[in-house]
């Protein structure tokens, strides 16, 4: 068993969640690998410390506050007799007057809809670019917090990569795995304003993060707002590259879809990922 595989299974081994075969392979690896054995010892330490954590006692007044709210809700739900009587006393309205008012209203709504729609689409785009910009800024500082920005703002479903097909109708490139030196952390099907994408967070061996978005938005460079982009050939693919702090974002067409990477180190890494994901 390789270290990279053992590292992924460490928690499951510690928690007794591995099948018998995998458990004995881990046992064998741990007897030979001091690095993994040391990390397992750290996990055990954390578990021992957790046993000693206090069990907080709820304050006594929580229930009385809940009761107060329940009483208020009950009062609000009970209609007064007078209100019921008022609702029954409705004036009749001339039908023709009602029809002409309805027609006028429909015309106004129709005119309003077209002008609102074009304003709304532009405004949505600006809003998305601002939100994505916030994600990019945070990615450089703290990739975990950046991920929370996306999860908080967009409807997303965690999936295993080869199960994403049930939600997006295609098998994402990430389902075929990652090159050596990368570990898949999480995959989500994420409904963003521009598109529904399969978004994966991956870690390099040094713990740094790269995010992979697979989607069908041909205008993905617009995700980056007004940042300067260049086009370069990476492994025979035309890639759009955008500098973000000391990293690169890259976008290219992969078959019928597009791949966008965030947090790439350099052009060589772009080329490596292009080659891998295009296999």
């Amino acid at each position: 068993m390789k270290c990279s595989e053992a590292q992924n299974l460490l928690s499951a081994f510690h928690d007794g969640e591995l099948a018998k075969d995998a458990h004995s392979k881990m046992d064998d690896h741990l007897s030979k690998c001091s690095k993994c054995a040391r990390e397992l010892a750290e996990f055990k330490n954390l578990s021992m410390m957790s046993i000693a954590l206090d069990k907080p006692v709820p304050p006594d007044n929580i229930w009385s506050q809940i009761e107060q709210q329940l009483d208020l809700q009950t009062q609000n739900l009970q209609p007064a007799d007078s209100k019921v009587i008022e609702q029954k006393q409705r004036r009749s309205f001339p039908v023709t007057r009602l029809l002409s008012l309805t027609t006028a209203l429909l015309i106004v709504m129709g005119v309003g809809w077209f002008s609102y729609n074009s304003w709304f689409v532009n405004d949505q785009h600006h809003h998305f670019t601002a939100q994505f910009g916030h994600y990019l800024d945070e990615f450089h500082r703290n990739s975990n917090a950046a991920q929370q920005i996306l999860l908080a703002n967009y409807e997303s479903h965690p999936v295993e990569p080869d199960q994403a097909i049930e939600r997006v109708g295609y098998r994402p490139a990430i389902a075929d795995g990652l090159p050596d030196g990368y570990i898949l952390e999480s995959t989500h099907v994420m409904k963003m304003p521009c598109c529904t994408c399969v978004q994966s967070v991956c870690k390099r061996n040094d713990g740094s993060t790269i995010a992979i978005f697979e989607h069908d938005d041909k205008q993905s460079t617009k995700w980056f707002g007004g940042r300067t982009s260049i086009t370069a050939s990476c492994n025979d693919k035309q890639c759009c590259l955008i500098g973000i702090d000391d990293k690169i974002a890259a976008s290219w067409k992969n078959g019928n879809r597009y791949i966008t990477l965030i947090g790439v180190r350099d052009v060589a890494e772009v080329g490596q990922m292009v080659a891998w994901l295009d296999r």
Binding site: Q7, N8, L9, L10, S11, A12, D15, E17, E39, A41, E42, F43, N45, L46, S47, M49, S50, A52, L53, D54, K55, P56, V57, P58, P59, N61, I62, W63, Q65, I66, E67, Q69, L70, T74, N144, A145, Q148, A152, P158, V159, E160, Q163, L184, E185, S186
Partner: protein, 190 residues
């Protein structure tokens, strides 16, 4: 506790949240609601202390139970009630943290009055772990607490958080590694 003036009906004196208590809650019976609260409050409040901190735990616990009573008719019995309750509690806490943009809360110490030296050392270690927990990502914190404090298995955690079991394992790896890093940065030497 049921008020001194109320006679607790049969079926509500047990130690488990059974169908009688749940049916009573569905009918908005106050005694049944209080019973459900009594039977589950320590677990829910304890989870909230770890997820949102001491300062806000009582408020969020209150919100959770109001949601429970509002949505109790949606509990169909396909999962264990405890799983349903945990899921509601975790979602409520994560929403609370996201709304306030408070991924990390300030850990508040509860100072003991007097201690022996070994009690002091144990207290330092607990303090360190609690501080480190308050600093990591809330979703990772949740998974760590559900596993290490609530002692739930991966299948139960997966159902509560609605993620695959494999993802529970990988997030626990991350949670433990990040906790270890935080502990080290706080001066812990393993």
């Amino acid at each position: 506790m049921a008020s001194k003036d109320t006679t607790v009906p049969e079926g509500l004196t047990g130690t488990t949240i059974d169908t009688v208590v749940l049916e009573g809650c569905r009918s908005c019976d106050r005694v049944a609601q209080e019973r459900l609260y009594e039977l589950s409050r320590e677990k829910v409040y304890g989870l909230m202390v770890r997820m949102v901190g001491f300062q806000d735990a009582a408020d969020v616990t209150q919100q959770i139970y109001l949601q429970v009573f509002r949505k109790i008719s949606l509990f169909t019995g396909r999962s264990k009630f405890e799983t349903w309750l945990y899921r509601l509690a975790v979602n409520e806490a994560l929403q609370y943290l996201r709304k306030g943009n408070r991924w990390n809360f300030q850990h508040i110490t509860q100072e003991p009055i007097s201690q022996s030296k070994s009690e002091e050392e144990r207290s330092d270690v607990k303090e360190l772990l609690e501080k480190a927990l308050s600093r990591i990502d809330p979703e990772l914190r949740t998974i760590f607490v559900l596993r290490e404090v609530e002692e739930l298995c991966y299948r139960e955690i997966a159902k509560i958080i609605d993620i695959p079991e494999g993802t529970v394992a990988s997030r626990l790896n991350r949670a433990r590694r990040e906790l270890q890093q935080e502990m080290t940065s706080l001066g812990w030497e393993s």
